[in-house]
Assembly symmetry: D3
Homo-oligomer: 136 residues x 6
C-alpha cells in the first residue's frame, strides 16, 4: 500500500460566530476570530489517497486527475470565497478548520470511490502554526 | 551599515472593489478578488531597519522594541480585521498589496525616526506566490 | 475523530555528553554534539490533540487554550534555556531530541487529560533535517 | 516507541515513458512527464526509523550512521543521475514517485535490520505539491 | 516606486557539459553536474516588476497578466523540458543558473516594456541552497 | 553583472551578555537572551558573490569552491560551537547577529578577492523571524 498526497491552495474569508449569540459572547468564546467584518486565510490543503501502484503506469492515482477532482469539487467553491456565506457544503456549519476538513472529506471521498480510489486523509493548514487532519 | 529585519504576521479579509463600479466591471478588472462577500489571506510582513550596530549592545535596533512598535502601529490594527472596513489608515484606499505596503511604511517610518532609527524597507507577502517591496 | 495540531517554538542550548565519560569518549560517541561549551538549536514543536469537534463551537480544542498550556508547561521552561542545566523535567536525562520529545509528552499529556482532551502526538524538529515523533 | 526522521536530498532526471508505446500514447497517459528528452526534480527524502531510545545515549539511532547508510545505499546512486538509465535498482521499473519510494525502502530496510534498527517509513517529495509515503 | 514579485515554477533536466571536451574534462570542471545522462531540478522563478501603483486599481501590474506573460514566454518553454535540447532561447548556451537567469530576463523584459511595465529583477532558485539574481 | 548565492548552516550556542554588568542589568538590556547558561540557534547563512559569468563555464563562481571556502573559513569554526567562547574571530565582540554577520564578511571577503571574486552580501538568519544583511 502506497500513500500519495497532492497539495492545493485556496484563499478565503470567514468568521467564527454564532448568530444567536451577542457580539460580546462571540468575543468571549471565539476572540478576535469573531470579528463581525470577517478576516481570512491562505489555506493549504493536502489530500492523501492510498492504494497499490498500477503495474503499467506506476501510479496509485494520476495526480492530474486527482488535482482536477479536488479543484472541481472543493477549490472552485472555496477559493476567493466567504466560507460562511458562499459555500453550499458549509451552509449552517461552523467555519472552523475542523469542520471544514470534515466537509472537504465528504465532498471528495465519494467521488474518489466512484473512480476506484480510496481517500486516506485530508490535512488542512489554516496558518503555518495550526492544521487539522481527518481520516473519515 | 547593517540591515536588520523582523517578520510579523496578520490574517485579514479584503476585496479589490470600486464602489462606483458595477459588480460586472469589478469582476472584469479584479477577477475573483472582487468577490463582494470578501476573501482573505495570511499576510507575512518583513520590516527592515538600517543603521550601525551600537558598540555596547551590538544592536542596530532592539528587536523586541521593533516588534512592539510594529505590533502597536500596524499588526493590532490589521490582524483578524477587514482591510476595507476596519482599518483607519486604509480608509478610502484600494486594499491591494502595493497600497497596503505603502500605508504600513507611512505608519512605521515616522515612529522609527522618533526612536532614532531609519526604516529601510517594508516587504509584504500576500501569498507564497506574490509579494511587494517598498523603500519609501 | 479529528486531529488538530499547534506549532510552538523555542531556542535552547544543549550538549550530548555523559559526565562520567572522558571528553574523548564523548567525542567518539556524540561527535561535535558533545562540545563541552555547548551548541544550540531553534526547536519547532508540533503538539497534536485528537477528539470530536464540539457541536457548538466546531472546536476539538480551543487553540488559544492549547497554546497557553504548552507555553506554561514547556515553552517557558525551555525557551532561551540550557536543556542540560536549566530545565527541571530534563534533570539527569540525556538532552537528545528523542528524550526531550518524551519529556514534553509527560509534561503535557496529564494536563490535557484534566482539561478533557487527549494528546495524540508530540513532534519535535531539532533542525530542518531531523525530527522525532512520540505517541505515548 | 519513538520515531526519528532524517531528511536527505537528491536531484535527478527522469521521464514517465513506456518504450513499447508510441510517443503519442505516452503523451496521452503521462502528459508532459513523458517528454522523450527528460525533465527532472529536486527530490526530498524523509526516512523514519522507530525504536526505543538507548538508555545510555538517548538515541533511537545515531543520525550520522543513518545519514551515511542512506547516502551509500540510495543517495549516491540517485543524485545527479537519470532514474531511468543510471540506477541499478530502478532498472525495468517505472520511474514514478510511488515506485521509487518502494525501491528506496527495499534498499534501506534490510541494511537497517542488520544494524538492529527498524525502518518505519519512506516519504518522498517530488515537488512541493506532491509526495508519496510507503510503510513496507 | 513599488516592487512587486510573482513566483512561478518549472521542472527541467539539464547538464553542465561542453561537447568539445572529453567526459573526463567535463567531470573535472563540472563534477557530477556533467553526468552525460542528465539530471534535473525543480526551479523556482521570481520575477520582479517596479512602478507606481495605478491610482484607480492600486496595481503596479495586474499579477494575472504578469503570470500569463511569464508562462507564455518562459514557463511553457522550460517546464518538463531539457534545458540543453528543447529550449530555443538556450540553444548554444551553457545551461547554468546564471546563464538561464539572463536568458529569462531577455525573454521577459522587452514584452513587459511593450506593456508599459519595467522589469526589475529575475531571481532563479536551482535548489534551496543556491540561487541567482539578475538586474539587466 | 549576476549575483549568485550559496546557503550554508550552522548550529551554535551564545548569549548576549556584558561581563562587566550585573546579571540584573544584562537582563534589563538583553532580556532572556542574557541567560548565563546560554541558549542557541540554527543559523542560516546566505553568501552572495557578484560578477560576470565566465563565457566558457557559465559560472560567476564555482559553487563547490564557494561552499568549501565558506565551510573552511567560517562554518567549521561556528558549527556546534559556542559563539562567545569557541570562535577566534568573535573574541571580545558581542555575539549579536549584526556583529556576527560583519565578522563573517571579514573572514570571507579577502579570501574571495584572492580568488578573483567579489563578495556582495552576507545574510544571516538567527530565527525564521529575524535576519541581518551586510554589504561591507
Amino acid at each position: 500500500m502506497v500513500y500519495i498526497t497532492r497539495r492545493e491552495h485556496f484563499n478565503a474569508a470567514h468568521k467564527l460566530f454564532k448568530e444567536d449569540w451577542s457580539d460580546q459572547k462571540n468575543m468571549e468564546i471565539f476572540g478576535k476570530c469573531s470579528n463581525p467584518n470577517w478576516h481570512g486565510h491562505n489555506y493549504d490543503l493536502f489530500v492523501t489517497v492510498k492504494g497499490e501502484p498500477n503495474p503499467t503506469t506506476g501510479f496509485v492515482i494520476d495526480l492530474k486527475k486527482l488535482s482536477k477532482l479536488i479543484n472541481v469539487l472543493v477549490i472552485d467553491k472555496l477559493d476567493h470565497k466567504n466560507l460562511n456565506l458562499d459555500v453550499d457544503f458549509m451552509k449552517g456549519r461552523m467555519a472552523s478548520t475542523e469542520v471544514l476538513a470534515i466537509a472537504i472529506w465528504e465532498q471528495i471521498a465519494p467521488a474518489l470511490k466512484l473512480e476506484g480510489s480510496e481517500l486516506h486523509s485530508v490535512k488542512l493548514y489554516e496558518t503555518e502554526n495550526n492544521y487539522v487532519e481527518y481520516f473519515g
